[in-house]
């Protein structure tokens, strides 16, 4: 990172990132199934979205996420050992185990946090963009949120604020078609999140969220706009979550097998792999090696996390304030 050009190097980075995410999520599900954490929101199926965007970001740029943010964190370069430790509530985690799966952050990597309240990070990200503006840096702030979150008033308030102040922010809606068990077409009047940008005089783009290449392109333009001080962009990436909302639920309770099959047939990793092979950017063996490395890295992360100690009891009462009294 950042990868301004779409070439072998950037394609391989994206592949590796997406495979890491998937393996990480598979492992976290295993940890959850083993009872080591509860209610974990898997990002499997949505790997392409943050990957295509974060390809344009450096460590000084910021990303803010949601309850479903493991993929954002990995795409932003967070250490998966610390992430997995956080999931297991260990003292070696990104937040010393205090935040957990919905609250992973690493300010040194520009990840200013996942957030468990739907929509809640949108204004926070707007403030991050304000810092860049006030300080005159060329930093960019990216906030990811779901189709469900698009119904929260703060999106409207933040688009308005970013619009009048021309802030360097990118609003990325990961439209995975469901908010819990509520289908997108039920909850979003007008049928499009991207279209709402018009009302704020800012560009709104819809993109195939399974094609990391398409996302890369719209991300490039949006990041450029932001860096040049031309203001915000709203991107709606049409994607799909493969698993249930938080794991324990069966998505076939509210969506059809056909629909699932349709989306899974357009798997973002499979599609990128094909593109890489077709273009000769890497060969099968190289990609297999990456697959192996990712798997090993995730296993190592699981081992690290499981071997790490829980926080000391006194940690309950520290970090509430920087200083109190």
């Amino acid at each position: 990172m950042p990868y301004p050009e779409l070439n072998g190097e950037s394609l391989v980075w994206m592949y590796e990132t997406m495979v890491t995410i998937r393996r990480f999520e598979e492992q976290s599900r295993r940890e959850a199934d083993a009872g080591k954490l509860r209610g974990m929101h898997s990002s499997i199926g949505q790997e392409a979205v943050p990957t295509g965007i974060c390809a344009h970001l450096n460590e000084k740029d910021y990303v803010l996420g949601t309850h479903r943010s493991h993929h954002h964190c990995i795409a932003k370069g967070l250490d998966i050992n610390e992430m997995m430790a956080e999931l297991l509530g260990k003292s070696t985690g990104t937040g010393k185990g205090k935040g957990g799966t919905m609250h992973i952050a690493d300010i040194n990597k520009g990840m200013l946090g996942a957030n468990g309240v739907v929509g809640s990070n949108i204004p926070v990200a707007t403030g991050v963009a304000l810092t860049a503006k006030v300080k005159g840096t060329d930093q960019v702030s990216v906030v990811f949120f779901g189709d469900g979150a698009s119904s929260q008033g703060v999106l409207h308030e933040s688009m308005n604020l970013a619009g009048i102040w021309k802030l360097p922010i990118i609003f990325v809606c990961e439209n995975n078609r469901y908010a819990e068990a509520t289908p997108f077409e039920y909850s979003v009047a007008g049928g499009s999140v991207a279209n709402r940008a018009d009302g704020y005089g800012i560009p709104g783009v819809t993109v195939d969220g399974q094609s990391v290449l398409d996302i890369y392109e719209v991300g490039k333009e949006a990041v450029q706009r932001a860096r040049l001080g031309e203001g915000p962009t709203l991107i709606e990436a049409q994607t799909y979550r493969y698993q249930g909302h938080f794991g324990a639920d069966d998505p076939l309770g509210y969506r059809s097998k056909e629909e699932q099959d349709y989306y899974m047939a357009r798997d973002c990793i499979v599609m990128l792999k094909q593109h890489i092979l077709d273009g000769g950017h890497a060969d099968e063996t190289q990609l297999d090696d990456i697959d192996t490395q990712c798997l090993e890295a995730v296993s190592a992360a699981a081992e690290f996390a499981n071997d790490s100690p829980f926080p000391d009891p006194e940690e309950l009462n520290t970090d509430v304030y920087v200083a109190y009294r």
């Binding site: 509860r38 509530g89 205090k98 935040g99 309240v117 469900g148 509520t182 909850s187 509210y254």
Partner: protein, 342 residues
């Protein structure tokens, strides 16, 4: 209560579900709104896909249809506000605010509108709104999904706040809330949700009076006051203390606003000692409120200062060993009681 043939035990969830169903049957003006309370949006083939995140509303959409059982977008300010407007114009809406921490996006509608309209409009508009919301730690859900917070709603005039502790009173308080002409918030502890209790839950509809607390046990030596989940903790602590020879009175508060001050004071006047057990944050809380009440109104009766066992002044931690230290436990209650008793 001994378990007889006629004892009917249902879970906390079923109790609330039953109250909702009975009130919806009884009164066509009762509607229910919230995120995924039916689920599946309006897809014909996926009716009742979810039935509420805690399954509190399971089955209602099949019986009452989508006009009265409404899935909402994730717009708490929008739909809680709509609940206020619907209540003020002739319906009796029940609105599900999934977790109490989400009050943050809709507090204006609750405290500036629901709570104040009746007064500001000179008593001429009623707001018979019920809000039900999930509270409490212990489920590994971290700082934004585990708060208790009923204290801040109790702070506001115009609102009523109730906290059931078992399926019996969950059903009765829910029924009372729906029939009440004022806005009522029902705080349901998530750790209690799946539980069944010994108490008999009548099948017929009934009311547990808002504003009345419940003596779970009578005793002479000390009063343990519990709220919702902590009533359970108090009962466990009482058993331990009774084994040690103390006679313990457990008072289940049930209503925070209005609050059964008489019961609290009469209990303390008898036992002369009280431990208040509460999971909410300690500052400006219901625990301090009760402690202050007792100190001021029963000062001359007290043998020892009132004592509070609460959550600490810290966020709810994610990590389980830390989270276990956050919630009041029977051990902490026993220790506090012994301190007061000795």
């Amino acid at each position: 209560m001994t378990q007889t043939q006629s004892t009917r035990q249902i879970s906390f969830i079923q109790a609330i579900n039953e109250a909702l169903r009975q009130e919806m049957t009884r009164d066509p003006d009762v509607i229910v709104m919230g995120e995924d309370i039916a689920g599946g949006g309006e897809r014909e083939d996926f009716q009742d896909a979810w039935g509420g995140p805690m399954r509190l509303t399971k089955g209602l959409v099949n019986d009452f249809g989508r006009t009265r059982v409404r899935d909402t977008p994730i717009s708490e300010a929008g739909f809680v506000g709509a609940g206020v407007g619907a209540a003020a114009s002739g319906l009796r809406p029940v609105v599900d605010l999934m977790y109490v921490s989400f009050y943050g996006v809709c507090a204006d509608q609750i405290t500036n509108n629901a709570a104040k309209m009746h007064y500001m409009f000179g008593g001429k508009v009623k707001v018979p709104l019920t809000i039900m919301t999930g509270i409490g730690a212990g489920t590994n859900s971290a700082a934004q999904h585990s708060e208790t917070l009923y204290s801040i709603f109790t702070h506001f005039p115009g609102l009523k706040c109730v906290v059931p502790s078992n399926p019996y009173n969950a059903k009765g308080l829910m029924t009372a809330a729906i029939r009440d002409d004022d806005p009522v918030i029902v705080f349901n502890n998530r750790q209690l949700m799946g539980l069944r209790f010994e108490d008999h839950v009548p099948e017929d509809s009934y009311i547990v009076d808002i504003g009345k607390s419940d003596f779970k046990t009578q005793g002479e030596d000390i009063t343990l006051l519990g709220i919702g989940y902590t009533t359970r903790v108090c009962m466990e602590a009482a058993s331990i203390l009774e084994e040690q020879g103390y006679s313990v009175e457990v008072l289940d508060l049930l209503s925070l606003s209005p609050m059964d001050e008489d019961a609290i004071l009469s209990s303390v006047q008898k036992t002369r000692k009280i431990v208040i057990v509460d999971e909410d944050y300690p500052r400006c809380s219901i625990a301090s409120d009760i402690s202050a009440l007792v100190a001021e109104e029963a000062f001359d009766y007290l043998d020892a200062p009132p004592k509070r066992v609460t959550a600490p002044h810290t966020q709810v931690p994610y990590s389980r060993p830390l989270e276990a230290l956050f919630v009041p436990t029977k051990e902490k209650v026993v220790a506090a009681a012994l301190e007061v008793l000795e």
